[in-house]
């Protein structure tokens, strides 16, 4: 990219055009639709509707969309934590394995991603159904049945399954690049294995953890298909709500929800970044 030390900006041309036409312009449209009514005159109604619309749930009245949004955040957060707890050790072990084993592990992680997302979700339906593979197996070994499909757990299982590779890969790539001499240096300076991990490996892996969180949390918050299939449509998520409004040709309200979701995610990512920066670089300083 550099000629005589100066970046050749011209090379960015194709991407710039792409980004403008397919990212900037559509985002502009989203914002435009969010703040207009059906006759395209300016309004805040779509936004206020998101925060104020209510519906009847049992005996009480609830704020429909806030509840949906809260549920989306909760399930996405649980999925992200599970992905992190499962993915971090996996990434660490993978980065320390010999290169042949690393390749095998990498392939195993990637294989599910070669299959279509919808098919994977259907596969989970057949596993988790009350009369599905899992319950068949439990019955065979003499254990009682479990009811998973149509619960929040089923939705979380689906999300973890789909997004786990996106947690493992960025953490792995940071860990694999880590200078092993740093680990020796920490041992040399008196750290046992736990100390080496706490004071060197973990802080240095933070950039990978951060991008893993980004890559799992954001798609989990806005996912819509998994909840419909594995939640039996009982757990409407914000993605489902947007899709529903869009299908019902309610474009302005769909755009408003997408817009709000985007703003909230940006704020969340900024907070996470701020918080983890402190952990990575201030862990030992006062």
């Amino acid at each position: 990219m550099k000629k005589n030390g100066k970046p050749v900006w011209g090379l960015l041309g194709p991407y710039t055009v792409w980004a403008f036409v397919f990212i900037v312009v559509p985002l502009g449209f989203v914002a435009y639709y969010a703040f207009t009514d059906n006759s395209f005159s300016f309004t805040f109604d779509n936004i206020t509707r998101f925060f104020t619309a209510t519906s009847q749930s049992g005996d009480s009245e609830v704020r429909t969309y806030l509840l949906i949004f809260w549920r989306s955040l909760k399930l996405a957060f649980i999925s992200t934590v599970i992905c992190l707890l499962a993915g971090y050790p996996m990434a660490y072990i993978m980065s320390r394995a010999d290169s042949r084993k690393q390749k095998i592990m990498m392939t195993l992680i990637m294989i599910p991603m070669w299959m279509n997302f919808l098919i994977r979700t259907y596969a989970w339906m057949t596993i988790l159904q009350d009369t599905g593979i899992l319950n068949g197996f439990l019955a065979k070994v003499g254990l009682g049945k479990v009811h998973i499909i149509g619960t929040e757990s089923a939705v979380v299982i689906g999300m973890v399954y789909d997004y786990l590779p996106y947690m493992i890969l960025p953490i792995y790539s940071v860990m694999a690049k880590m200078d092993l001499k740093l680990i020796e240096a920490a041992r040399d300076l008196g750290c046992n294995s736990y100390g080496v991990f706490r004071r060197v490996i973990f802080p240095l892996s933070m950039p990978g953890v951060l991008s893993g969180i980004n890559m799992v949390l954001i798609p989990s918050v806005s996912t819509f298909y998994i909840s419909q299939k594995l939640g039996n449509g009982k757990f409407f998520l914000i993605g489902d709500a947007i899709e529903g409004q869009y299908v019902a040709n309610n474009l302005h309200f769909a755009a408003a929800m997408a817009f709000i979701l985007m703003v909230i995610l940006i704020i969340m990512m900024a907070l996470i970044k701020k918080f983890t920066n402190g952990m990575a670089y201030g862990g030992d300083t006062e």
């Binding site: 001499k181 041992r187 040399d188 046992n192 004071r199 060197v200 802080p203 990575a280 670089y281 030992d284």
Partner: protein, 382 residues
């Protein structure tokens, strides 16, 4: 002097290749000891055995009278300055230096005091808040030294610590390391492939080759009295000739009989003869013990390096006298300039200077991985 470390009959193999072969070495308190040898000679492995990063297959590592083969690195009272410093990129200068003390849960004020003491020892007092990645190579080097010394180890291990620095900075750091060693009284074990560095810094030089110790001695000993052709060739420039020890104090080489100062060899025992280039005097052809023709003259600043063909054997001579190419000269050699060595497995491996050139030597060093080209180019900003 107290023995601080003893290596006893140590052998070590990787994948069936023996990298250390029956190493025996005593290291004393307050000593500056250098492990010197070409790459692959086992010097770094020896250092890692002492640091606790490797375990010997056979033999014992003894530390202050105790066998420590199975003591892990973090429990040894030994610290290391790593080859490329291995500073923690997520911590600033202060925290890098404070690392060992924080692990020991030393009180804050004490850490503060010790870190500043160490930073002033390595002349980086004003750098404590700096990011280590923003420092020059020489500054990073100093941080690495301060970080290793703060735990007050009995022994400091230095793994080619100056390898990545440019020549001038390297010379300064040599002096400074020596000064720090004197000031702290800590035993330094220094690994290098640079013979000049070894000679200028060390109290004791351990010359290694192919996993074996070739010679242990003071710099003056190993230079003046190399035990075999390998040591003679590796340390400084040498003319190494085939000779025969006729009897005590009489040696024959280059078809001439010379007086020498060595004795104790068998009658007519074949030997290797070493004569250092600076020990040969140039005289008129008729006065010389040997006669030859000058084939090349190189101006080196302080002296000329000339190659002289004596009956087909190319000698190197360093002289301040000017001679011309193709001139016929005589060579005079004093008895005490002649060093006699027993024949060894290295005899005959090191020929004369017929193919000698600095460039070739440098290229082979790069090829063998001793010099990293990127390092040679250097990025020093001091």
């Amino acid at each position: 002097m107290n023995k601080i470390i003893e290596l006893k009959n140590i052998s070590k193999s990787y994948d069936g290749v023996k990298v250390l072969n029956d190493i025996n070495l005593d290291i004393y308190d307050n000593e500056f000891l250098t492990l010197l040898g070409p790459s692959g000679c086992g010097k770094t492995t020896t250092l890692r055995l002492i640091g606790g990063f490797e375990q010997p297959d056979e033999g014992d590592v003894i530390f202050m009278g105790e066998r420590i083969n199975d003591v892990p690195a973090h429990k040894r009272n030994v610290n290391t300055v790593f080859q490329k410093y291995a500073l923690f990129p997520h911590l600033n200068v202060f925290e890098n230096v404070a690392f060992a003390l924080r692990e020991r849960k030393v009180p804050k004020d004490e850490i503060e005091e010790k870190v500043h003491e160490m930073l002033s020892l390595v002349m980086l007092s004003n750098f404590s808040k700096r990011d280590v990645t923003s420092l020059s190579g020489g500054q990073q080097q100093r941080v690495a030294i301060a970080r290793a010394l703060i735990a007050q180890p009995k022994v400091l291990l230095l793994d080619e610590p100056l390898g990545a620095l440019d020549l001038k900075l390297r010379k300064d750091m040599q002096q400074e390391l020596k000064k720090i060693q004197k000031a702290t009284g800590i035993t330094f074990i220094f690994v290098t492939h640079d013979q000049e560095e070894a000679l200028t810094m060390s109290d004791t030089v351990v010359v290694m080759s192919e996993g074996k110790i070739q010679q242990i001695g003071t710099p003056i000993d190993v230079y003046n009295e190399p035990v075999n052709a390998f040591v003679a060739d590796f340390i400084g420039e040498s003319n190494i000739l085939d000779g025969v020890m006729l009897k005590d104090y009489k040696v024959k080489f280059a078809d001439q009989i010379f007086e020498c100062v060595d004795s104790g060899f068998g009658t007519n025992e074949p030997v290797d003869v070493v004569i250092r280039p600076e020990d040969v005097d140039i005289v008129k052809p008729e006065d010389g013990m040997l006669k030859g023709t000058v084939t090349s003259v190189t101006f080196m600043g302080v002296h000329y390096e000339i190659i002289v063909d004596v009956n087909g054997f190319k000698w190197m001579i360093q002289t301040t006298d000017f001679v011309d190419e193709n001139e016929n000269i005589g060579l005079a050699i004093d008895p005490d300039a002649i060093q006699i060595m027993k024949k060894s497995e290295y005899s005959g491996l090191y020929g004369d200077y017929s193919t000698y050139s600095d460039e070739v030597e440098e290229l082979t060093e790069i090829e063998s991985g001793e010099l990293d080209i990127s390092e040679v180019e250097g990025t020093e900003e001091e």
